[in-house]
Each structure stands twice: as C-alpha cells, then as structure tokens.
Symmetry: C2
C-alpha cells in the first residue's frame, strides 16, 4: 500500500474527506525525497493549484501527524522551523553546522536503542524522537583550526 493510499484510508477512517488539496500535498510528500517545510510544500503545491492556502498546508500536515503518517524533524539547533516527512522504517536525524548552517543527515542504531531503553526504564511508550546535534562540520572545523 502506498503512502497516499494509507493516508487516504486513515483520513477516511477518522471521518475525514479526501480533497483535491490534500491529494496534492500527499503526492508531494510521497514523491519528494528532500525534507520539506510547510512553506516549501505550499510553494510547490501552488504549481498545481494556485489557490491553495498556506493554512491548508499546515492543517493537512497536522491531520497527517495526528494519524501518525508524517513526523516532524528540526534541522537547526534553534528549532525555528519544522520539517516534515512520511514515517519510514529508517529514521534519519540531523547534524547542523553552527558556522555554515550546513545540514548533514545521519543514521544510528543507537537511537533505536535509546527508545528501547526509555520504554524499559521509564515504562513509557515512545512515538517519536527528535535529535538535533550541532557543532562544526569538517570544513568549518578545519578552517577554525587554521586561524
């Protein structure tokens, strides 16, 4: 079942409706492999429907998140902007360079372990973990040494 099919079904099951606007947003989420924020999503959605509003993008993302179909990520250490992606098996986290703002994605089995540890020790159920690491990327690290 594709992401779009899963999403339509989840929306229906929650008593919601499939609209043209939601179709567009789902398609963009599924086909893009980049991380999108609401504004970028809005920009792209307008190519297909120039009337679609930013508020609709935000509302759709919230609906999808409640249904557990997309998850938020923050890239910068300031966490000033939410990025969104379909929920996948492989979870990606981000390192941001404090100097040049570059974002480097990474994977780590340690995050899976962390979730398990929390579920065992705190007796909680984990839905989502957000990790933002910041520091200096290889280039900025090298150039800061030179000075």
């Amino acid at each position: 079942m594709t992401f779009q099919e899963k999403a339509s079904q989840a929306i229906r099951e929650a008593g919601g409706r499939m609209t043209a606007q939601r179709q567009i947003i789902l398609e963009l989420l599924e086909t893009s492999d980049e991380h999108l924020d609401a504004e970028e999503l809005h920009r792209r959605a307008r190519v297909q429907d120039s009337d679609i509003s930013l508020a609709t993008v935000y509302r759709t993302l919230n609906t999808l998140q409640e249904a557990g179909l997309v998850q938020q990520r923050y890239h910068s250490p300031e966490h000033s902007r939410k990025y969104v992606e379909p929920v996948h098996a492989d979870e990606e986290y981000h390192f941001t360079c404090r100097n040049c703002r570059r974002v480097m994605p990474f994977h780590s089995e340690l995050m899976q372990q962390l979730k398990q540890q929390l579920e065992a020790e705190l007796n909680v159920q984990v839905f989502n973990a957000c990790v933002c690491v910041d520091g200096l990327c290889p280039e900025c690290r090298a150039s800061s040494h030179k000075e």
Copy 2:
C-alpha cells in the same frame, strides 16, 4: 571556579561588561536546579530588580550561549519554548507525554556514544545535542489501554 565566576570572566574576555542585571540572571541560573525559560527567569529576576526587562533576559541568555556557558533544551515535542541551563558534566534529556504534557527527565550513556560516533563517522565536532522524545507516560499509557 563557580559558574558565576566563569561567566564573568568569559564576558570580560569577550570585551563585555558585568552589569547588575547580568549578575542577577547568572545567580538565578546557578542556584536553580529546575529548567528555566526566559519568562520564568524574568519573573524571578524582577523580584530583585523590578525594572529588568524581558529583552535583557533574552540578550543575556544569548550572550551566555555564545560563550558556551549555557545550553538550550526543548521539553515539548512542539519545541515552542526554549529552556536553558548551565553546561554541566551530566547531560539531561527529556521525554514529554503527548497526552498529559508531563515532562520526564532522563539520562543515558547512549547519547555520549552517539556524539562519539558522529565525531568519528562524520568527522564533525559536536557542541550540543538536543533530544526530545515524546509518547505516552506510564499513566496515560495505562488509561489508553482501558478504553
């Protein structure tokens, strides 16, 4: 060297000045073991100086952060508010209940490992890692099962 001494020194070295307002904020940061946000800090600072402004609190926190003396933490998954704490040896992270909003702090040596892994694999230098985990706390987990 106490936190306040270190901070005064760092501020001086950066060509800054020690002011009464900064003293108050440093003292609050050092003596409180809770996590404070800018507004709570402002509220408490006003007990000592009723004229101190919220902008000054924010500015001081930014100055301290640039000097590496305090670090930000986010408690809720929405990351709507920054909390701040002096940089310590023992790093604390937070789990937030999606249902009742309760915040449970936790420690994990896995985070230390994650940093080391990143430094080794990505060849970066890590300054700070922020982890926000959300899900259901033991109580909400139990009551959601009953329904």
